[in-house]
């Protein structure tokens, strides 16, 4: 049926187009739409029954009409031609070259909506990635094959953080077969240029594939962009043995697009108008991170999302947090305090941290040191808010000590600026230094043997 064009559009509503008389369009089939002026657009079948296909139009519906617009069903579901050549290239949100380069020609065509990885085939992610950032390496360690989003807010420097991670990330003692896939969804051209410039400066551009859907581009494309990026990443990882870092920004725009299409289909909305299947939809993206037994590559994801009104309980960060293996949360207070990166360590989390740290990968004291820093920082912050009410003098000696630890933690440990690249040893030693204020018995999260060994080693405390 690939050669039949239909001119039987009966209704156009928002991004949806109803085509009558179609006997058997496949669910998820791609369509090509030819406008009266000869322009071509793409679409995809969202609902199909005998005699009717509902098509979601990627791109604007401007100029579509009933009668002259023709629709051709392509007979295949969404696919992408993939090859090594994609590295160093810039594509638009639908995968067409945007850099005046040639179209990607490849025999390998892959379905965009891949089937899920069999959980039995997954390999447990356990290789420590040194990002050079103390707050991540020390407290919320990233490992290969993890999905660790950055929860940010409008106006916070999440892009700087993501770019710094992409620039500094390395695996200790590992061979470097590293590439970056970057998916932009609805970000401004300024932000996109920032990333391109960053990749250029660090010399990573040649190993990067960029998929850019900018804020001026049609919102429906955004539903496809991350899938293009992940399909490319999976190809590079599992067929070409590369370790791929996928940066997806901004997931909030993706979810908005999802809500838009759901509203157009008149579906029963879930929380705040987002569709009830948003969890499933998001997981079909995030769960594509991972490692597979017997294959050398890996897909590590750093999705970025801006929390509307900094609200972590908003459905977008909420559902994301339930799927991803932790989160890095940016804090407006720290940002105001001129701390960079302004990462709120207490609400951040890396679920795969334990697999990547400890003897043999980082250092044996890593886990307990991190726990101690967490609880001391939390206690110190409590003391600080208490001091704001009753005055510092009314605090107990212990609380005053913890307060000092908390302040130092923010100023020395978290705050490292944009250019400092700390090794894990440095990070841990700074941690021990902070704890030098506390006596041995106050270090209740660390086993005595480790206190003995590392307090002295790092030259801190007594």
């Amino acid at each position: 049926m690939t050669d039949i064009s239909y001119k039987t559009i009966s209704k156009i509503a928002g991004p949806l187009m109803f085509v009558e008389g179609v006997e058997n369009a496949a669910y998820g089939e791609m369509v090509e739409i030819k406008l009266p002026n000869g322009e071509r657009r793409q679409g995809q079948v969202l609902d199909t029954r005998q005699g009717l296909a509902v098509v979601q139009v990627f791109g604007a519906t401007l100029g579509l009409n009933i009668g002259d617009t023709s629709v051709r069903f392509l007979g295949e579901t969404a696919q992408l031609a993939v090859s090594d050549e994609m590295l160093g290239r810039v594509f638009d949100g639908l995968g067409n070259p945007k850099d005046n380069g040639p179209k990607i020609v490849s025999k390998t065509k892959v379905d965009l909506v891949g089937s899920g990885i069999n959980p039995y085939s997954r390999e447990e992610p356990s290789e420590f990635i040194q990002t050079g950032m103390s707050n991540i390496d020390g407290m919320n360690t990233l490992v290969r094959g993890q999905k660790l989003p950055i929860f940010s807010g409008a106006g916070l420097p999440h892009n700087l953080l993501a770019a710094q991670i992409a620039r500094q990330a390395k695996v200790l003692g590992g061979s470097e077969n590293f590439s970056v896939v970057f998916a932009a969804m609805g970000i401004t051209s300024e932000e996109a240029n920032f990333f391109v410039k960053q990749f250029e400066e660090s010399g990573a551009l040649g190993r990067t594939a960029l998929f850019l859907n900018l804020s001026s581009d049609p919102s429906m494309e955004r539903l496809l962009t991350p899938r293009l990026a992940l399909t490319t990443a999976e190809y590079l990882a599992y067929e070409r043995d590369m370790h791929v870092l996928v940066i997806m920004t901004d997931m909030t725009n993706y979810c908005e697009a999802l809500r838009e299409i759901s509203a157009a289909r008149e579906e029963v909305p879930g929380r705040r108008g987002y569709p009830g299947y948003m969890y499933t939809d998001l997981s079909s993206l995030y769960e594509r991170a991972g490692k597979i037994k017997g294959r050398n590559g890996s897909v590590t994801q750093i999705p970025i999302l801006t929390m509307p009104a900094d609200d972590i309980t908003h459905p977008i960060p909420d559902l994301t947090g339930y799927i991803t293996e932790g989160q890095i949360v940016m804090s407006r207070d720290l940002h105001r305090g001129d701390i960079h990166p302004p990462v709120d360590v207490l609400t951040s989390l890396s679920r795969l941290m334990n697999q990547g740290i400890g003897k043999g990968s980082t250092r044996e004291d890593h886990r307990s040191l991190a726990d101690q820093l967490y609880s001391s920082y939390a206690q110190g912050k409590d003391a600080r808010s208490l001091a704001a009410i009753v005055g510092e003098e009314a605090l107990s000696d212990l609380d005053r000590k913890f307060m000092k630890v908390a302040n130092d933690f923010e100023r020395k440990f978290v705050n490292q600026g944009m250019d400092e690249n700390r090794s894990i040893e440095q990070t841990l030693d700074i941690g021990w230094e902070l704890l030098s204020e506390l006596s041995d018995s106050e270090l209740n999260r660390i086993k005595p043997e480790l206190i003995e060994k590392y307090r002295k080693k790092s030259g801190a405390g007594a």
Binding site: Y27, T48, T280, S441
Partner: protein, 587 residues
Amino acid sequence: MAEGIITRISGPVVIASGLEGAQMFDVVRIGDMGLVGEIIKIDGIKATVQVYEDTTGLRPGEKVINTKRPLSMQLGPGLLKSIYDGIQRPLDILREQSGDFISRGKVIPALDQKIKWDFVPLKKKGDHVSPGEIIGEVQETPLIMHKIMVPYNVKGTLTDISEGKYTVNDIVATVQNGTKTEIGLSSWWTVRTPRPVLRKLPPEEPLLTGQRVLDTFFPVAKGGTAAIPGPFGSGKTVTQQQLAKWADSNVIVYVGCGERGNEMTEVLTTFPKLEDPKSKRPLMERTILVANTSNMPVAAREASIYTGITMGEYYRDMGYGVALMADSTSRWAEALREISGRLEEMPGEEGYPAYLGRRLAEFYERGGKAVVISPEERVGSLTLVGAVSPPGGDFSEPVSQNTLRVTRVFWALDASLASRRHFPSINWLTSYSLYADGMGDWYKNNVSATWISSRKEALEILQKESELQEIVQLVGYDALPEPEKGVLDTARSIREDYLQQSAYDDVDTYTSIGKQFLMLSTILEFGKMEADAIKKGITSVKIGQLESRKMISKIKWTKEDQVEQLVKDTKSKMQQEFSTLLTEATR
């Protein structure tokens, strides 16, 4: 087999027409790929089908075949150590057949069809047998003896039974009662139908989990139901996994329902390495995993908890204690919501279908301690623990609320505890267990006569602490009178030296109930001595520096066999240090 055609496809929902004689919940095979689905609505000649696999690429006009059988599963030796998807397809075999990504339309038998099991009869020819009676055994794993039972609708005289090696599809015995019935090594059961029991018993024995906050403060009974709601990052999954690892039940069914793929991998890699504390055998030998991760088809997620619970009931019927962990029931509820939305049903609260509460209640009602159907009195239990993932950590949402109505233990995970790395982050003020009082006799007989009073005392101290904290917020710590500071010290010790427990430390990950009692009684005794000393004018600062205080914090890191000695030493050190303090004070 009736055949029809697809007339409409919308996500996981397909409408087929021409399926004559279709019945609700019949399993159908859809399209040229033969995807598996289940009929969930019948309207004239049209049948609505929820499809357990991704429907991309299906076209109207493709055929639909009705297998005329409801979703059912094969139960027999070989279930243990398996990892299944939501509709009981073994994922390891699926990988062998179709590679690392799950392919569609595969039908794979749940049990290995080739393994020959050693069947040992317990009855002989000529014996009269009744429904549920055990006629023989198979050593399924070194931990579990698999019992072969007479099906519920069969009774009569054994005309044939013999020892030997059999596959799951072989017949091991025949029963004559007018008609001849063959009994196989395995049997079939429909997953949506609960397996019947004779009568339910009150749960009176705790399910020991080795987790101090659970065993001491909020115990769940064997055959009880518990809910763990909590926002993301509060440790639901770690708690569930700790239960799966250390709970003292015979069989564990772990259902990963719409959760992370890497988490299932973690279970798969760690369980075979972990030893059961009692038998020293790998934990995997008593475990069945059901993994339907979030990116696997949503309809199969809906089915996965039924798949899990049916296997649980099967082992309960053999007389075992079974514990089932479902992580997370919210994802299951969301699957219900998604299907319901596609069916254009009128939504209830937050878009969930109006029957959400009923379905949850039906699920939890399948748990319990029961006398199973059998002529000899046999008791089994099925404990259900469901994680709930409330959006935004807000417990007022429908899934949490409907779950709390039907479960009797509530383990409230608390994000603020988690963010200060107090794990397990179970809030001791809001959690509850309705079993605790009913199990008093068990504790009296098996742990200590003072267990219940110690538990009560510790909870009271924690309650007092939260009241005092409010005062501290207003006037500062220094303004508190000394006796109150003493209470805060004891509460802090309970929190840090007792409630905090590391899942990642080799020793701390599991604490026997005996060690728990020793630990708690030591802490409370120290608290009493402190209170006495303060009355006699000694400051809490001074007491905080005592050596025995430090010794208490070491108990949790101490191995089970050395605990008694350390506790003895600590207590005598306490005696000695406090009496020194008092003599100094009176001098």
